[in-house]
Symmetry: C2
Subunit: 323 residues, 2 copies
């Protein structure tokens, strides 16, 4: 078994999935956003977690896709709220169609996610649904907090971590937990899967923030410094705003408040402030902390060592990615 | 037992329902829209249907509220799409807060609806959820068709009926079916409940259309003729557009195309065209047809006669309402 086996299974099932037909304005945007690709990490986690405890990991495929459809539903609605023009280099749904269609297609996509999650054994349905409802509500809470933070300059590190935990990490935790639930793992084990996924997820998001400033331009897909140019409240900026005092703080807020004339100059200047405040080191150590916690959670899981290695090695590769 | 017993139970449980706390921007709009009132007809139908087959109708209260929360979720999102300023005489959520909050609160409200629906016995969960997913998707389909129809002048009667069936009637059908499912009714019985609800629901919607033109101004809550002034594609207008030929058609499309200068004049003139085309009689006979079909569906149900009468008399009162 290799990650490719699981990825192929996900791609095959994605091809087979019917989201609905009529009216086309409602269902075409679902097929569109699902066709834009993505690494399909969440359903992959579900299948790998199921394989830890059962040879019949294939029974987790449809629920795993439920998590992926839910994730893409949040992207469709978040893109409206963020007024994002592009998603994976293609027009967002509200740009390609319109706002109303993006709202309503998103709604029926959430219903589709629930329908896919129904494909579990009856005795597991209540747990699968209860945990999913909690997770889905938390993802919405995280998105609302993220929007609230846009208007604030006093967001603390712990508030930021809590926001990304809700907005992005609990769904990775749920994806792993779901695999365990479907494969019949006990409550303690599914808790370790969930906690591990949440910690790794926080690490992933902090790494995203770090790479946007310190990524190798040759390997990093996007323009380095994009978050700095957009004044995006990343872990790095929040940390810098918490740490900076006196003239350093004045310089930082100066860059945040003045219109960008020379893009490279702003990126360089803010990066230099980060250097002064040792933001890179702080961020790297926080990333390691969350990855370590996550792998410690996985260590607690009692399962076939080879299968565990398959999961942890895959996660480690993702954690060490540079783009 | 009387309808008031069920209504009291619904109101009590509504008071107890927690939708979530933090952040308040996400959950306050849910409490707000749920507090605007409404007749709570859908959860009432669920409880009355459960009572047909079981003394323990109270176990249907939380799922019944799931249907009510879902209904209010659709209102919150529909109001954004329709750019409606008011809902039950109060500001709509997107007006009182903003668009993004109305999108996201609506999303978490849909999750809340699913959570309430989980409160059924485990052996009923799959059927309750599968049928709900189908219904929820159809409600979205109906809303999309309704938006599509705004741009068309050639909507046929059967297309219109199909649109209102999806947008409003299937949820009434589901509300009744849900009560039956929870109370352990057999598949044939739940089908009669569903079909009955759908037919009655179509009748209700057609009656709404009729009352907007022919309602007694003393009894009708809104201004009579509002739909005519807004060129709203009701059953009456669609029927008139299908039937009108020659000069009558020219006169009708004339009124639809020219800006309103004298409101009473337009209402009177279009109503006169409806008279010429016997639209009132056609609409009334279609309403009776659907109500008759609905009551015929209920006749097929084998349950305690007194309990059946409680349900059918209540539905008949709703059907005969004049506001």
């Amino acid at each position: 078994m290799s990650p490719a086996t699981f990825i192929d299974a996900i791609q095959n099932q994605l091809q087979l999935t019917q989201y609905g037909q009529h009216p086309p304005e409602l269902y075409d945007p679902i097929r569109y956003i699902m066709s834009l690709g993505g690494k399909r990490i969440r359903p992959l986690m579900t299948l790998m977690a199921a394989y830890l405890f059962s040879d019949d990991w294939q029974k987790a495929i449809q629920p795993a896709l439920g998590v992926e459809v839910f994730h893409n539903f949040t992207l469709m609605h978040d893109d409206i709220m963020d007024q994002a023009p592009l998603r994976r280099g293609q027009l967002t749904v509200h740009e390609k169609w319109n706002h109303n269609i993006a709202i309503l297609s998103g709604d029926v996509m959430l219903v589709n996610a629930y329908e896919l999650l129904l494909h579990v054994e009856v005795d597991k349905l209540k747990a699968v649904m209860t945990r999913f409802n909690r997770t889905a509500a938390e993802v919405c809470e995280g998105q609302q907090l993220d929007m609230n933070f846009e208007k604030r300059w006093d967001v603390t590190e712990s508030e930021y971590i809590e926001m990304i935990r809700l907005k992005t990490s609990v769904l990775l935790g749920y994806a792993l937990e779901l695999g365990g639930l479907i494969a019949g793992a006990d409550a303690e084990t599914t808790r370790h899967l969930y906690e591990g996924g949440v910690n790794i997820g926080i690490g992933f998001q902090l790494k995203d923030d770090l790479l946007d400033v310190y990524g190798d331009p040759e390997k990093f897909g996007k323009q380095v410094g994009g978050d700095i140019l957009a004044n995006k409240k990343t872990f790095l900026l929040i940390e810098a705003l918490e740490k900076a005092k006196g003239p350093v703080r004045d310089e930082l807020t100066g860059w945040l408040n003045k219109p960008v004339t020379d893009r490279a100059e702003k990126v360089q200047a803010v990066t230099a402030i980060y250097e002064t405040l040792q933001i890179r080191q702080i961020t790297e150590s926080r990333i390691s902390e969350y990855f370590d916690k996550g792998f410690a959670n996985f260590d607690q899981i009692n399962a076939d060592p080879a299968r565990k290695t398959l999961l942890t090695q895959f996660v480690r590769q993702l954690a060490e990615r540079e783009s």
